[in-house]
């Protein structure tokens, strides 16, 4: 008993010291840079180390499986089908050549066998395609030590199991508390800061403070998630007096974008903690939070806001609207349409997540918000790229829907999304039809030729 007492106080002392050290470290390396928008590059280093470890682990796993002569289940991110990169024309010619003995001249004609091409291509997409792969968050090439989708458990060696266990330990016992502390700091600073700024009289100073409070807190939140973001084309960053439109695949998008620019947001009113944050934020900056039931009123406010946005002299922020499947109801449709009808400059932004490090996709039918956040905070990191695309304005002969589709295809092209799943209701027909038409045009040339050919033959 005697021996335990001094030992106890020793433990308490050690605990106290380590906590203080932790907090000082926190302050110096994370929060201070966040306030000033500077980065020490720690996260990039972290990412490189992680990649090296993942690569080693995958190699080990493959070797182990080969030794035991087992088949390794390897999810392919590049697909399972051997694709030949030939064009429609070449393939159909190939098909015709293999079928007929007569010499192939270039006269346009139709063969019964042409259908094979479209048939096979179609079946290939049923077997495997880009977009659905992305949404089934289970396709990862290196075993990323998250083991959420690890089917090869029986093939790992002792060393690997230890590493995996270490990984779990680090993530849950070190990173998680750290991140929660950061998130807590960030959110409380946001709430307190914006409330305080809200008491100031309207004017330049208030705007200035509001901007910096928002930016600072979002940066802290970004670090709380260990989000490693690469920004491309920053010269196209949304400027004051415009509307920013982004593809929306996870709730984290907002944090990622808002840490790099000062936005007034449009979104649904939430209850609980989110509601508190929203109410605080709206004191310092004119965000638009709408209730589903109050849609009509809010719509008017929104229109007013947008007209303010167009008046360049008055506005010091960009309006931020998300297009996405996260919220999917008619009131949001109205806002989305509104943003395209209004005639302001639209700044498209494409966000793309790297699934190797932690999957940011929120399957809302499977997980609730809290579970989702916990999953985010216990993954290694969130790595994503943000592309700022050049601004677009509605042309005189375009209607709102065509303009919206144009913006969407620009974002889809950059984000590598073949399509339209993140649509949410604006008619997809137009975008889809242009792709289909291209193929039909190419094929028609093969069976009827161009007008010039026909006159010659």
């Amino acid at each position: 008993m005697f021996l335990l007492l001094p030992f106890d106080s020793l433990i308490v002392n050690l605990l106290g010291i380590s906590l203080t050290v932790l907090f000082t470290l926190l302050l110096v390396f994370i929060i201070v840079p966040a306030i000033f928008g500077v980065s020490f590059g720690i996260r990039k280093l972290y990412m490189k180390t992680l990649l090296k470890i993942f690569a080693w682990a995958t190699l080990r796993m493959e070797r182990g499986a080969k030794e035991k002569n087992h088949q390794l289940y390897k999810p392919y991110t590049n697909g399972i089908i051997a694709k030949d990169p030939t064009s429609l024309e070449e393939e159909i010619k190939e098909i015709r050549r293999s079928g007929s003995s007569k010499a192939l001249d270039n006269t346009p004609e139709f063969e019964l066998s042409d259908i094979f091409y479209f048939c096979r291509k179609g079946m290939e997409t049923i077997m495997d395609d880009e977009v659905t792969k992305r949404f089934s968050a289970e396709e990862l090439e290196s075993w990323n030590l998250l083991s959420r989708t690890n089917y090869n458990f029986q093939y790992i060696s002792l060393r690997l199991t230890v590493l995996w266990g270490l990984g779990v330990l680090i993530r849950y016992c070190f990173l998680l508390p750290l991140r929660i502390a950061l998130a807590f700091t960030g959110i409380s600073l946001l709430v307190v800061g914006t409330t305080v700024v809200g008491y100031l009289p309207n004017g330049r100073f208030k705007e200035f403070l509001s901007k910096h409070v928002h930016l600072m807190c979002y940066r802290i939140c970004v670090r709380a998630l260990t989000a490693i973001i690469t920004y491309h084309d920053r010269e196209n960053r949304p400027r004051n007096g415009g509307i920013c439109v982004a593809n929306h695949t996870s709730p984290i998008d907002v944090i990622i974008l808002a840490s790099d620019g000062y936005y007034a947001m449009v979104g649904q009113v939430h209850g609980g903690l989110m509601g508190v944050i929203q109410r605080a934020m709206v004191k310092a900056c004119p965000h638009v939070w709408f209730e589903r039931s109050e849609v009509k009123d809010r719509h008017l406010v929104f229109l007013l806001l947008i007209s303010e946005v167009k008046d360049q002299k008055k506005s010091h922020f960009t309006l931020f609207c998300v297009l996405g499947t996260c919220i999917n109801n008619t009131s949001v449709m109205m806002f989305k349409k509104g943003s395209f009808e209004i005639g302001a400059t639209v700044y498209p932004v494409a966000i793309k997540y790297d699934p190797q490090f932690g999957d940011a996709f929120w399957n809302s039918s499977k997980y609730g918000m809290v579970t989702y956040l916990l999953r985010m905070m216990t993954s290694w990191a969130i790595v994503c790229s943000v592309w700022y695309l050049p601004p677009m304005t509605r042309e005189t002969d375009e209607d709102a829907v065509q303009f919206a589709n144009r913006v969407k295809s620009a974002i889809a092209r950059q984000g590598g999304l073949v399509d339209l799943l993140w649509d949410g209701g604006l008619k997809r027909e137009k975008v889809k039809d242009t792709f289909k038409e291209e193929q039909q045009k190419l094929y028609s040339k093969m069976i009827v030729g161009n007008h010039e050919d026909r006159s010659r033959s």
Binding site: A82, S101, F110, L112, F116, M127, K432
Partner: protein, 190 residues
């Protein structure tokens, strides 16, 4: 973990890992976790929607989808995809004649394509059905007259018994020189 399923895919590549992969694909396509795929699930595939024959393939144009009344369970899914398995040279020699023909045989591949044309399943591709498929493949790029003349010519060339339609036998005959096995097969990466 059916052995009946693996026999459908036996041969040149590893059946079990491919089956597993297809199972995940099935699960991913089945958005509402119903346990089967409906026409809507297939229509949601973006890359299929931009294929001129996409609607047909998704809506039961090929052999198999329709039999199951618009709902495709996993065995059905595999059965249809098995049509596109590359043909192994060993298969043809050693096949037991009493066994049913493998799904990826030349005949079955041809039948699959035939059914893409023959919507009403009467065993014949009528002039009208041919016109419909052609229209799908060219969209608005070709005039009605041009399309009709192409259809007439094609039906005439293939039609042997003069009934104005192309039966399955006539269809196979006109394609007898075609290397169907290669053109209607999907090669899997190992």
């Amino acid at each position: 973990h059916g052995s009946p399923h693996s026999t459908l895919l036996e041969g040149s590549f590893d059946a079990s890992s491919l089956l597993l992969r297809l199972y995940h694909r099935f699960r991913a396509l089945d958005r509402n976790k119903k346990g089967y795929l409906s026409r809507v699930d297939l229509q949601q595939i973006g890359a299929l929607a931009v294929n001129p024959l996409g609607e047909r393939l998704a809506g039961g144009g090929g052999a198999g989808w329709e039999e199951l009344l618009g709902e495709v369970d996993f065995p059905g899914f595999v059965r249809v995809l098995a049509h596109f398995r590359p043909v192994d040279d060993d298969d043809s020699g050693m096949r037991d004649p009493k066994q049913p023909e493998p799904l990826n045989s030349r005949m079955n591949k041809l039948r699959f394509v035939f059914q893409l044309y023959d919507l009403d399943r009467d065993g014949k591709i009528s002039r009208h059905e041919m016109l419909q498929v052609l229209r799908l493949m060219v969209g608005v790029q070709v005039t009605e007259e041009q399309l009709e003349s192409i259809t007439d010519r094609t039906v005439q060339e293939a039609d042997e018994d003069g009934d104005g339609a192309v039966s399955f036998l006539e269809f196979t005959k006109s394609l007898e020189k075609m290397d169907i096995e290669q053109k209607m097969s999907i090669r899997i990466l190992k």
